[in-house]
């Protein structure tokens, strides 16, 4: 039986499964957030098939392909870091997390150059060129900037989560016996990858 205290202790107990279910539910929310955009994308592509096809040729398949591979590898490194934590291999966990962070940064740098190229040609939200585009092109590039931009924001959020996790692994607060944070940041990172898996063919591989 518990003794009566004046503090509210209900939040003191730890429930890793609850955090994991919570993380999954949050991921569902994220899926539907991008889902709304995928609906918009499919409707406008259905309405402007030719314009979408021509507009996509402005994008570099190589760039998109490299970024896809980067994210896939980073997903694998996160997954390995969790296996390593379960084996109590702290060094490996930290190595893999650091690798993930570096890959994420490389992704963003690539993205920077990709967007930068567009900006140099005068193609950016609100630019005169953008405003002079035909209807279908306008929709394509609006969606391109908005969706990859939102995805980029998620990359940054994921990086912050992973960096916090890395720091906590280092200090030992995330360890082989308690690694819910690592698992959940990992789930979030996979989600970011998952979304890119669909963004890549939709923007870069229209035939």
């Amino acid at each position: 039986m518990e003794t009566v205290t004046h503090t509210h202790t209900a939040d003191a107990h730890r429930d890793d499964t609850a955090s994991k279910i919570g993380m999954w539910l949050f991921i569902f929310t994220e899926i539907l957030l991008f889902g709304g955009l995928f609906i918009v994308y499919s409707v406008y592509r259905y309405m402007n098939p030719v314009a979408f096809h021509l507009a996509h040729e402005e994008l570099s398949i190589t760039m998109g392909f490299i970024n896809t591979i980067i994210l896939l590898v980073s997903s694998a490194t996160v997954a390995i870091s969790i296996s390593a934590m379960q084996k109590n291999d702290r060094k490996m966990t930290m190595l893999m997390l650091a690798a993930t962070l570096i890959l994420a940064a490389v992704f963003l740098v690539n993205k920077y150059f990709e967007w930068g190229g567009k900006f140099e040609h005068g193609l950016y939200p609100g630019s005169d060129l953008m405003k002079s585009l035909s209807n279908g092109d306008m929709l394509f590039f609006s969606l391109y900037f908005f969706m990859t931009g939102l995805h980029g924001v998620h990359i940054i959020i994921g990086m912050v989560l992973l960096a916090i996790t890395l720091a906590k692994v280092r200090s030992g607060r995330v360890n082989g016996g308690s690694y819910a944070l690592l698992e959940n940041s990992g789930l979030y990172w996979h989600l970011v990858d998952l979304i890119w898996i669909f963004l890549f063919p939709l923007f870069y591989l229209i035939h």
Binding site: L32, V43, M47, V73, S83, D193, L194
Partner: protein, 94 residues
């Protein structure tokens, strides 16, 4: 549902999965460069879904975790797919 036991996925599995995913990415790029008409889009989406499923099952541990997660994910995906279908009742017949 108690706190589940954790299934440790060997490093090798992750690496094999990664190689599979990269292979699928290469295939999808190659397929798009051949002329298949409407099947190009279908193929691209099919491969993307396959890759998504692999990420969900292996990297996100759905295959090894309590099956409640699997049920939830499938339901959410099914609902989202149904929303797209219902939306297209408008655009397909307009």
């Amino acid at each position: 549902m108690e706190n589940e036991k954790h299934h440790i996925v060997p490093y090798m599995t992750h690496i094999m999965v990664l190689l599979g995913l990269i292979l699928l990415t290469v295939i999808t790029v190659l397929i798009t460069s051949v002329e298949l008409g409407a099947y190009n889009t279908a193929a691209a989406m099919l491969i993307a879904s396959l890759k998504g499923a692999v990420v969900l099952l292996y990297f996100m541990h759905l295959k090894f975790d309590h099956k409640i997660y699997w049920v939830m994910v499938s339901l959410v995906i099914a609902i989202f797919a149904a929303v797209i279908v219902v939306t297209f009742f408008d655009y397909l017949y307009r």
